[in-house]
C-alpha cells in the first residue's frame, strides 16, 4: 500500500471484503438509476422498479426466454463457426508465406468495414431468417479473431523456436510443441474480442429485421413506447455479454496461467 489509511473510515474500508464493495456499488448504481428516472428524464428512462416488473411479466409469459434463446443461438452459432474457421486460417497465414501474402491484404481491408454496412447485402442474399444473422455474426467475429490469432502466431518469440531447433525439433514439432502453445494466450484474447464483436453485430442484425430476438424485442417495444421493456432488453444483453466474457476470462486463468504478464 502506498498510503496507509489514517482515518478510522479509511481503516474500515481497508478491511472490507471485495464482495461487499460489489454489493455497495450495485446498490449505488440502482439508486442513481432510480433518481434519474424520477427526474424529467423519467418519461423515457424507465426506473428499476418498472423494469423489474416488466422482467417478471415477460419471464412468466415466456417471451423473454424465447427472445434470449433466439439471440444466444445466433451469437453462439456465428461465434463458434468463426472460431472453428479462424484458428486454422490464422495458423496457415502465420506458417505459410503464400497464405499470408494472398490472404492478409483482404482481411486487413474487410475488417475495417463495419458489419452493419453489409447487413442489407446479406439479407437480400439470404432473407431475414436465421442463416442471414449467423452469417453476419460469423463474418464480423471471424475477421476480428483471425487478425488477433495471426498476430499471436507471428509474435512467437524467435528464441523459443531456435531453442527448440537446437533440442532437435523439426518443423512439425515446432508447430505442435511451440507455435500452438505460445499463441494460446492470443487465441483466448481473440475469443474475447470475437465475442464482443458477435454481440454488437447481433443486435445490429436483429434491429434490421427479425421475428424474434432481444434486438427485435427492443425495436418493437420502442415503437409502442414501452421503455421499461427497452431497458430490460438492454440490461439482459449486458448480462449475457458480462457472463460470457467472465467465462472466457476464467478459462484464460485456468489454461494460460503460465504467462509472465497477462496479455489483456
Amino acid at each position: 500500500m502506498i498510503n496507509k489509511p489514517t482515518t478510522k473510515f479509511g481503516q474500515i474500508v481497508e478491511k472490507m471484503d471485495g464482495r461487499v464493495f460489489l454489493l455497495i456499488s450495485l446498490i449505488l448504481g440502482l439508486l442513481t438509476w432510480q433518481a434519474v428516472s424520477m427526474t424529467s428524464a423519467g418519461a423515457v428512462f424507465a426506473g428499476p422498479v418498472d423494469t423489474f416488473q416488466a422482467f417478471v411479466k415477460e419471464l412468466s409469459n415466456g417471451k423473454l426466454l424465447q427472445h434470449t434463446y433466439a439471440s444466444l443461438y445466433r451469437v453462439l452459432g456465428g461465434f463458434v463457426l468463426a472460431i472453428v474457421i479462424a484458428i486454422p486460417v490464422a495458423f496457415m497465414m502465420g506458417w505459410y508465406k503464400i497464405c499470408r501474402v494472398l490472404v492478409e491484404p483482404w482481411i486487413q481491408f474487410l475488417r475495417t468495414i463495419p458489419p452493419i454496412a453489409y447487413i442489407p447485402l446479406v439479407i437480400v442474399a439470404q432473407g431475414v431468417g436465421e442463416s442471414a444473422k449467423i452469417t453476419v455474426i460469423f463474418v464480423a467475429s471471424f475477421l476480428v479473431m483471425v487478425v488477433s490469432i495471426y498476430q499471436g502466431v507471428r509474435n512467437v518469440d524467435i528464441t523459443l523456436i531456435k531453442a527448440s531447433r537446437v533440442l532437435g525439433a523439426r518443423d512439425r514439432d515446432i508447430f505442435i510443441r511451440v507455435i500452438i502453445p505460445a499463441s494460446f494466450p492470443f487465441i483466448l484474447v481473440a475469443l474475447r474480442l470475437g465475442l464482443s464483436a458477435s454481440l454488437t453485430t447481433l443486435i445490429a442484425a436483429e434491429l434490421t429485421g427479425a421475428q424474434v430476438g432481444l434486438g427485435q424485442m427492443i425495436q418493437e417495444a420502442s415503437m409502442y413506447f414501452r421503455m421499461e421493456i427497452v431497458i430490460l432488453g438492454i440490461v439482459v444483453i449486458g448480462i449475457i455479454g458480462f457472463v460470457l466474457d467472465k467465462t472466457l476470462l476464467f478459462l484464460e486463468r485456468k489454461l494460460a496461467g503460465w504467462q509472465e504478464v497477462r496479455s489483456v
Binding site: D157, T159, L160, K162, A163, S164, R165, V166, L167, G168, A169, D173, R177, V178, P181, A182, F184, A256, G257, W258, Q259, E260
Partner: protein, 268 residues
Amino acid sequence: MAGSAERIMSGQPKVIVNGVKKVFQSSRGEVIALNNTNLTIHNNEFICVVGPSGCGKTTLLNILAGLDEPTLGEVTIDGKSIHGPSSERGVVFQQYALFPWLTVRQNVEFGLRLKKISKGERKSIAEKYIESVGLKDFANAFPKELSGGMKQRVAIARAYAVNPKLLLLDEPFGALDAQTRTQLQVELLKTWEKEQKTCFFITHDVEEAVLLASRVVVMSARPGRIKTIIDIDLKHPRTQETRMSKEFNDIKNEIWSQVYEEYLEAKK
C-alpha cells in the same frame, strides 16, 4: 599469436572451423560479420570468446549451432560438416528461452521427448540434471515463478540433458546480477570438471573468461575475426580463490588490454 592457436592440445580435434566468412545483406549494403576465421576446438576443451560488440561472436556461435550457414568455408564436428541445427550441439541463450507453458521438469524433458526416450528414462535423466543445478524443489514450478539465475540453471540443465557433443553458451550470465553470476560461474565450472564436455562460451566479461576457459579467443571487430588465442594454464579445480591469485590477475590484465585495444578500434 598463431603459435599458441596451433599448439597441439591433448585429445582429438573435435570442432574445426575452416576459413569461415559470413556476409549479411542489410539496407546499407553488405556487412562482413565474420572473415577468414579458423579455429580448432579439442575434445572437452572450454573455449571462451571475448571481444567488442559486433565482432561476430554470436555469428560464429550461430554457425556452430547450425542456426546460420557460413557464406564461405566450413565447420566440421567429429569430421562431419555442420548443416542445420541438431541436438548434438546444445545452446544456452542469454534470454534463457525457457518454454513458459512448461514446468521446469517438462522444459528439461523437452529434448528427450523429441528423441523418443521412454517416459521412465526421461524422468530419471531430467531429475538428475534438475538436482545437479539445485532445483529439485522447483521441478514442478513454471518459469514465471523463478528468478533469472534459476531460469538460467534450468536452461543449462535442459542443454545438458540431451547430452550434446558440444555446448554453446551465448553470454549466458550477461543478464544476471554480479552475485548470482559468480555463483553460476562456479557451478558451471564444477559441472564441467565433473562431466567433461566441449564448451564454447561467449562473454563480455574478461574475468569470467579467464576463470572458466582452457583457452580464451579474443576477437576483433569490423570485419569480425580472431585476433589472438591465449592458453589459460590455471590448474583445476578452480574456485573463488583462483580469482585472488596473482597468476589469474596477470592473465586477466593481459587479455583485458588486448580487448581494450579492440574496443578503441571499434569505437573509431
